[in-house]
């Protein structure tokens, strides 16, 4: 901590002299230019700040709507019942009025209690930017105080629902590394300007502290090769509040625009009712958006859409299958006369209608999902501001993510099968994630990392990376393939051990064997016993059943075959597409297959590395290489199977720190 006076000055300037420590020398009082103190240096004591008052009445509004819905649902049946009673007796039963009054009283009481609680928790909810840590105070009866040392901050994210957006407030999440569950700290209902200021302050103070500590070591190792000039958290000189349109940031290249950017821009510039002016939080060095095509393709390729497509495909397949069976049945049942035939002839049309309706419904759902994805990526913007990478998106619900370049664990280029067909990829940055702290978004979705572009042409990746994360310049270029033996092993592994087709075939064979051995003889016997009157009919039924069975069996067998062929193709693709590369500063691992994922991670983000072998691998003289980083929740392992033994040991040597 004890840097030279100039190094530690911004830190000591904004704070009263430490109580216990002896003061070394009277510090010069002129402000240092390299790291100017954060903005609010005027209050010497850190000041507790409250969140915006919409916290009270927005939660009140939410509670009101919720209780209203609940009450309507309970009250309407009650009232209807009473109405019925009224009608039966034909008289004037005053109870319905009473019920209404009771409901009103309940409503008011609930609202009153909510208002009280909201007010009290609002009074007790405050945050403070301390000397070395951020504090969040909360709790009405049992007081809670959360400390976040600035150095532990991983990323600062903002989120706003539509209502919040219209009002110009947002929820701020501060992700930290540490703790068992990496719980995020949530500061709800901050005015937009306050949120921006808070974000700025947090990053600036973190940077100041880090540079104070790293100052002694002359910023050793904290910047990798080709890093941009040292962090420049320049405070807005003079007026901290600037008009939103002041000084458009320098854009490199053409800014991509899409249909939804304009409304998003309007939404952003409106800043809501309480938003206040935009805060200039630093110069933007690189910025990009999404084109119409990219946005649309993002919507098109999202997972739910794909699943719906598959579902509709299955629906059509089964329908045609069913129709085929029906026609087959008609041929079999020639004996049974007109009656049955007429029934069967009419049914394919009905089936077709039903299937058509299902497919149409799925199509509509798919369109909706495309639309919602487009909306959620509307106004997408990723930019580099000083040392931070900021991504914002969302037309209705607004998301903002800010992460410091120091905290980026790796760059991930992911190509799902669809993206691969088009020659596109998803670009994301892995960081240490935190579980969302508030209960409102407890979805089990594990969004790992920060998507900096959801649908990017693969040829544009270097350009985007050079602009957004110039620290990742100088990635290794000469890749090493996996071992030759890996192909054989991959085919065995994918088609047999983890191959769906193989196991399905196995189950199928077992089931059909059981049927042939036990069920069919029993049926035959039953047919023979019950042969007295309707011999022909029973035989027919059994024949139809057998026909059904064999056809189903054939279709399933074909499915197994297709799956197994796909597995083999996948294995070959994996073998062709998987490789790894490393140089002085970076490791790059690509795992291929139908989809492809390439992870680039700086060497200094690798926590530890290990190789792993099972007996078969040892016989084939290959090893699995694993690099572990702190990304995600509790760490992530980057893995490549079946690397040549000698190469793997060489790689493990590379993990060792250099002398």
């Amino acid at each position: 901590m004890a840097g030279s006076p100039t190094e530690s000055q911004p830190h000591t300037l904004q704070t009263p002299p430490p109580q216990g420590q002896p003061q070394q020398a009277p510090l010069p009082l002129q402000p240092q230019q390299a790291y100017p103190p954060p903005m609010d240096i005027l209050p010497v004591r850190p000041q507790k700040k409250h969140v915006h008052h919409s916290y009270i009445w927005l939660s009140l509004l939410q509670a009101a709507v919720a209780t209203l819905i609940g009450l309507v649902f309970t009250a309407v049946p009650l009232l209807l019942e009473e109405g019925a009673i009224e009608e039966v007796f034909g008289g004037t039963v005053p109870s319905s009025g009473l019920t209404v009054a009771g409901i009103a009283v309940v409503f008011v009481v609930i609202l009153g209690v909510t208002a009280l609680i909201a007010t009290l928790s609002y009074r007790n909810l405050s945050y403070e930017l301390g000397e070395e840590e951020f504090n969040l105070y909360s709790g009405i009866i049992s007081k809670k105080r959360v400390h976040v040392p600035y150095q532990r901050i991983q990323s600062v994210n903002q989120k706003a629902s539509l209502i919040q957006r219209l009002l110009g407030v947002c929820t701020v999440n501060i992700d930290t590394a540490g703790g068992a569950s990496n719980q995020a700290i949530t500061v709800p209902y901050l005015q937009n300007t306050e949120a921006e200021r808070l974000r700025y302050e947090l990053f600036a103070r973190k940077q100041a502290l880090l540079s104070a500590t790293a100052g002694v070591q002359t910023t050793s190792g904290s910047a990798s090769a080709g890093s941009p000039p040292a962090p420049n958290y320049l405070p807005p000189s003079g007026l901290p509040i600037l008009a939103a349109q002041a000084a458009p940031p320098a854009r490199s290249g053409l800014p991509e625009q899409n249909l939804l950017d304009a409304p998003a821009q309007v939404m952003t510039e409106l800043r809501g009712v309480f938003g206040n002016g935009a805060l200039d939080t630093g110069a933007v060095s690189f910025q990009y958006g999404m084109t119409n095509k990219e946005l649309f393709l993002t919507g098109l390729s999202n997972k739910t859409g794909f699943m719906l497509l598959i579902l509709s495909g299955i629906a059509t397949l089964t329908s045609t299958g069913a129709m085929l069976f029906q026609s087959a049945l008609i041929e079999v049942d020639y004996e049974r006369g007109l009656n049955l035939a007429a029934e069967l002839v009419s049914s394919p049309a009905a089936i077709g209608l039903v299937v058509g309706a299902v497919v149409a419904a799925l199509l509509v759902l798919w369109l909706i999902s495309i639309g919602s994805t487009c909306l959620s990526y509307g106004g997408f913007k990723a930019l580099r501001r000083g040392n931070r990478i900021e991504v914002e998106r969302g037309l209705l619900q607004h998301h903002f993510n800010g992460v410091d370049i120091d905290r980026v664990q790796s760059v991930i280029i992911k190509q799902s099968f669809i993206r691969r067909i088009f020659g596109y990829c998803e670009l994301s940055l892995a960081k240490i994630d935190a579980l969302a702290g508030n209960s409102s978004d407890q979805q089990p979705s594990r969004v790992i990392g920060l998507v900096v572009h959801p649908f990017l042409k693969i040829s544009r990746v270097p350009e985007i990376l050079a602009g957004l994360v110039p620290e990742f310049a100088g990635l290794p270029t000469t890749t090493r393939p996996v071992a030759k033996q890996a192909l054989r092993r991959a085919i065995i592994r994918r088609t047999i051990l983890t191959g769906g087709g193989f196991w399905l075939a196995l189950v199928l064979a077992a089931v059909s064997l059981c049927v042939a051995l036990f069920a069919l003889p029993a049926l035959e016997a039953a047919g023979a016993v019950g042969a007295t009157g309707e011999w022909g009919e029973t035989r027919q039924l059994i024949g139809a059943g057998e026909l059904y069975g064999t056809m189903a069996l054939l279709i399933l067998a074909a499915l197994c075959l297709i799956l197994m062929v796909l597995d083999v193709i996948g294995a070959v693709l994996w073998y062709r597409g998987s490789n790894y590369a490393y140089n002085r500063h970076f490791l790059q691992v690509t795992n291929g297959g139908f989809s492809r994922e390439c992870v680039c991670l700086p060497r200094r983000k690798i926590q530890y590395g290990f190789t792993k072998t099972n007996p078969f691998q040892r016989r084939a003289r290959v090893q699995t290489i694993n690099a572990r980083t702190a990304a995600g929740i509790g760490g992530t392992t980057v893995r490549l199977l079946d690397v040549q033994e000698a190469e793997a040991t060489e790689w493990l040597d590379w993990i060792k720190p250099r002398v």
Partner: protein, 162 residues
Amino acid sequence: MTELPAHQLNPKITWVWRISDALTITLVFFLCAIPFFCVYAFEGEQWALLVSAVCVACYLLALIIFLAVVPPIRFRRWRYELTSDYLDIARGILWRKRFIIPFIRVQNTDTRQGPVLRAFNLASVTVSTAAGRHEIPGLDTAVAEQLRNRAAELARIAQEDV
């Protein structure tokens, strides 16, 4: 690099493994077998006796494997080495793993001593990084303390932020 790390654990660790494994296996055995045995004892069901007999057989088999067969192999496979800037661990019987843990990534180190370990005058050293921890289980208490101190000293150069 193909050669294994230099140091082995204290041979007494095999007895620690035996004792703790025996305790675990016995616990699991009782949890599995007692309900069936009760069914047999109170209801007189023959099949329950059969199931408990199978449990006993499994128990004995597990005991033989984990008391006689596994510990010496595990001991032979478990090796570690502390160089000036990284920790090298090789372990595993079927799935063999080789770890390289640079000290600049180690966030903290500590020694631990459970009751079984203490009975044998052993201790374990744990080395934690931001993405997981590693334990060197059976070391002489003095060696463990020495190792921990050295690891802590080496880890002092670690960067706090990840």
